[in-house]
Amino acid sequence: MNINNIRKEFPIFDEKIQNNDLVYLDSANSSQKPKVVLDRINDFYSKQFSNVGRSIHYLAVAATNLYENTRTSVQKYINAKDKNEIVFTKGATEALNLVANTLGQAILEPNDEILITELEHHSNYVPWHFLRKSKNIKIKFAEINEDGDIPIENIEKEITDKTKVIAITHLSNVTGAVLPIKEITQLAHSKGIVVVVDGCQGGPHLKLDMQDLGCDFYAISCHKMYGPTGLGVLYGKKKWLEQLPPYQGGGGMINEVKKDRISYGELPNKYEAGTMATAQVIAFDQSIKFLESIGIDNVIKHEKELIEYGQEILKKNNSVKLIGNPKERGGVLSFTVEGVHPHDIATILDETGVAIRAGHHCCQILHDKLGIPASARASLGVYNTKDDLDKLNEGINNCKKIFDL
């Protein structure tokens, strides 16, 4: 892959950000968008716009076909068995809320246990927390080890007869740890436990193969995968999506509505109530094509080189402490600098166009465990270069200079 050609596909890199070239190291938060995706949104609204799935005029039929094309592309990209296993949502957060809510309604009983991990993003904890109140469900946390990994033994020892669901991230947005989802799923399924995967960081950085992973649900955030905001994908095994109740009610998700009874539509309409993020769905097809044109194996190889380089230079930098040392690290380098608060680091880096994130990254449980209120995080996309990481390192040195360290 040619990194310069890839960068040229992202118009934002032609912009000056406060008179600086942009060094974008916040892709775990949200990735930048290639021109094909932006053009597709504009073209659809300019030349082809109609709502989908309702009217029978030409534009409506054409738009519906485009919308469904993306569903098929996603199905193929993640190797799902059936296109009806792909549900569009307003984000990965909604996808995880959908699963927690409907599993809560359909299969969970008081005192049942949900097993999550200390790595989880708030969006894979809070939706389950709702069930503590509404259904008296217990939540257990599998612990991280000193490297910021979750070894499978730490999952296994928390499983009891009451464990009904394991909800777990594919790739930690703080330590970068890649979790062994396939092995965890095999273990869980041998005990009749449902596996829900938060794939927000897995989506852009890992090969997605639902048949290989074997999990029951997988939530994807499209805006982290070079796609538009306001869109997520929920993959759910057909047996689950057919069995579980609807999540939201409205137009498009029904079969028949009478004063005394309502029947619901078939998959995937059952879970797509109301007018969906039509343009975003149609444009997301271009994000998938963009990733396919590079090849996920090349993306992984490129990002692995960058991660190794980033670890190397940050380890050499005195007073920088990397968070986590996982066996397999994807896409993320979180760190602290002794004597400089992460917010001050972020402000100082921003002055030279280096965009990182500082805070708890929606992982307060993990930061409490690590005994720090916040961390700084540089996260990668396919467009990043070693030069970007050098600028990060220079920025950190500038922080040390300002703080007289």
Binding site: Q18, D344, T347, P373, A374, F403
Partner: protein, 154 residues
């Protein structure tokens, strides 16, 4: 934008060695504040005597250089003031951070005003204003003693 204006010597010094970073013994008013976006938190303790004078003020918590320096300078300047004077200083400081070019109160000495004005650098950094004001809003809550936890996100 100018980093030098944001990270002035006084800010860095107070950020490194915050004054009154402890818990007042026998405090009779307190409040907690937090910034959920970044996880920063502060707990302000106050001892008001019978003459409604701030006998002691202190804080606990963690945060960036701006928030630690702001809490440090705040506690230094509020100590020994009457509650009405304290309220006037708080209002003046928050007004300055929000829109006023300078401080208007006649309570603080000029060099104390200069110290406070060092925090005006955050005006150019909208995302950092909350760092400078969190401890002040928390002090207001403590003085009103309504026990309400202050959050920067409402």
């Amino acid at each position: 934008m100018n980093l030098k204006e944001l990270y002035q010597e006084i800010i860095l010094e107070h950020g490194k060695n915050p004054r009154n970073l402890r818990k007042t013994e026998n405090f009779n008013k307190d409040a907690k504040g937090n910034n959920p976006l970044c996880g920063d938190n502060v707990h302000v303790y106050l001892k008001l005597n019978d003459q409604r004078k701030v006998e002691d003020i202190s804080f606990e918590g963690s945060g960036c250089a701006i928030s630690m320096a702001s809490a440090s300078i705040m506690t230094d300047l509020i100590k020994g003031k009457s509650d009405n004077e304290a309220k006037e200083i708080i209002e003046d400081f928050l007004g300055m951070i929000k829109e006023n070019p300078e401080l208007k109160n006649n309570i603080l000495k000029e060099d104390d005003k200069t110290k406070l004005m060092c925090l005006s650098g955050v005006k150019q950094y909208p995302m950092r204003v909350k760092c400078a004001t969190l401890s002040w809003h928390t002090l207001v809550s403590a003085m009103e003693n309504d026990g309400k936890e202050i959050t920067t996100e409402n």
